[in-house]
Symmetry: C2
Subunit: 316 residues, 2 copies
Amino acid sequence: MSGIISPSMPVWIVRNAKHGNLAFSNLNEGLGKVLRFGANSPEVIARLSWMANVLAPALRSALEIHGEMPVKPLMAQALHMGDEVHNRNVAASSLLVKRLASPLLKTRTAPADIAAIIDFIAGNDHFFLNVSMASCKAMLDAAHGVAHSSVVTAMARNGVEFGIRVSGLGDRWFVTKAPVVDGLYFPSYTIADAAPDLGDSAITETAGVGGFAMAAAPAIVKFVGGTPQDAAAHTLAMGHITLRRNDAFTLPTLDFAGTPSCIDVRRVVDTGILPVINTGIAHREPGVGQIGAGVTHAPLACFTQATMALASIVSS
Amino acid sequence: MSGIISPSMPVWIVRNAKHGNLAFSNLNEGLGKVLRFGANSPEVIARLSWMANVLAPALRSALEIHGEMPVKPLMAQALHMGDEVHNRNVAASSLLVKRLASPLLKTRTAPADIAAIIDFIAGNDHFFLNVSMASCKAMLDAAHGVAHSSVVTAMARNGVEFGIRVSGLGDRWFVTKAPVVDGLYFPSYTIADAAPDLGDSAITETAGVGGFAMAAAPAIVKFVGGTPQDAAAHTLAMGHITLRRNDAFTLPTLDFAGTPSCIDVRRVVDTGILPVINTGIAHREPGVGQIGAGVTHAPLACFTQATMALASIVSS
């Protein structure tokens, strides 16, 4: 990553070192009552204001002192430490604290603010998620626009629809209804309270991490459900719908095989195996926030539409 | 842990919260050229001096501000993050930085010293090892002295002999020749350069972590050799020579089973399965330091001697 922009909503800037393209993500607020899951109480707004006025300027200065921080090695190390860098980022967030603490001390930030910043990051095991998302986006954007390519370059949901973008099919999104997630709900909530699947974070699965790298993160089943065997099985299943393994991201429990990456829409349609996504679950009403997490799948309809669109290009 | 004593050799103090007994360990210097593996050059002495004069007083103050830090939950979390807390402590060391950075900032330590301290800890993935050792010692000392008990309460090596202590056999050590380790050597070194097995750190295996918890740490095979399957097999094999599983330390890849703990000397003799130990390897000449790491085993003779001693008590 190369810096932080901080007006009212500060964002991480991640640069694809090989292709030069940039990607962005806001800074992670934590779990539960947070704006991205629909909460908007005074405590949520106060936290966002502190993040914009204290956290972001300090991190920006720390990153200037540190210099560009290659993200892929951090993600790779976290995959060796039980993260899948989507719904489990405890190792990656700790590695980030370890990297940034010393440069933070060299900024002009007041010691009390530095302590508050470290407490905030140390208290939010998902802090790295947004760096992971922007990094995955930076990798995938470089793969977009290859003529006739059937590789998926984005999967996203907005609480109503689920959409994918395909490398050889330009800016068109192939959309269908977003699924409701049968996951693990926080105490007092059930599936009846859930909004349909929502968020940009499926960009991590699109890049071959998250649900695709669950073999790296057996302990995540306590958060998203299932067994450690299920976690490894998800990774193995994704091998059937992807074109290759990413040797930059290896999985110790699978004998250091790379993560399955480059989803091919044709393979999804051929096999009927749907991309697995580790996801957070938002309450259907505004103001509540996150109420659970679980494992869901990208809907088949997006992939059949995209495959038909590819076929019509090739046959025309 | 409850504090730090810092004269010329500062030590961690770990208190068994239930039984009140204390255990101690010095602070980890890192890998390679370090005093505990026999290196003694000016850079080694300078580092030790900095550790005594800067690092230890700052950590002591930070721990006073933090208050007692329960170590078992830290170790348990690290086992979910790919450590076995003997030869792989990257997660535990990161968690320790995350916990201590903010209290460090509240001490009177100069910011430049705090930055140097965080850089030192962040740059030494083995920093947590000595906390782990003292914690294991504190747990095991509480199990020592149970009449007729065949449970091993210490395993240690000094580069010449390997010895064990057994709960029901008082202060007697059962010793035999220490093995030479056929491990992974750092570049330019071979087994011909190695001293016989050495160090206090097998206290971790005695407590059911380290080699006994290798199923938690598949990535460690890059450091000690073997395959991820071997790592899991070591943990499963240790189930045959231990009396129970420690539910405080669970292993995600084995469906959250506890680590095999309480080595029974009779079971070792009955099965011929020897306790597995992840170990560092020292050069046989003074001044060089650590030259490799590997997997070794406690020698059978210690266990046969102890079993015969137990038999003579029971029959007398």
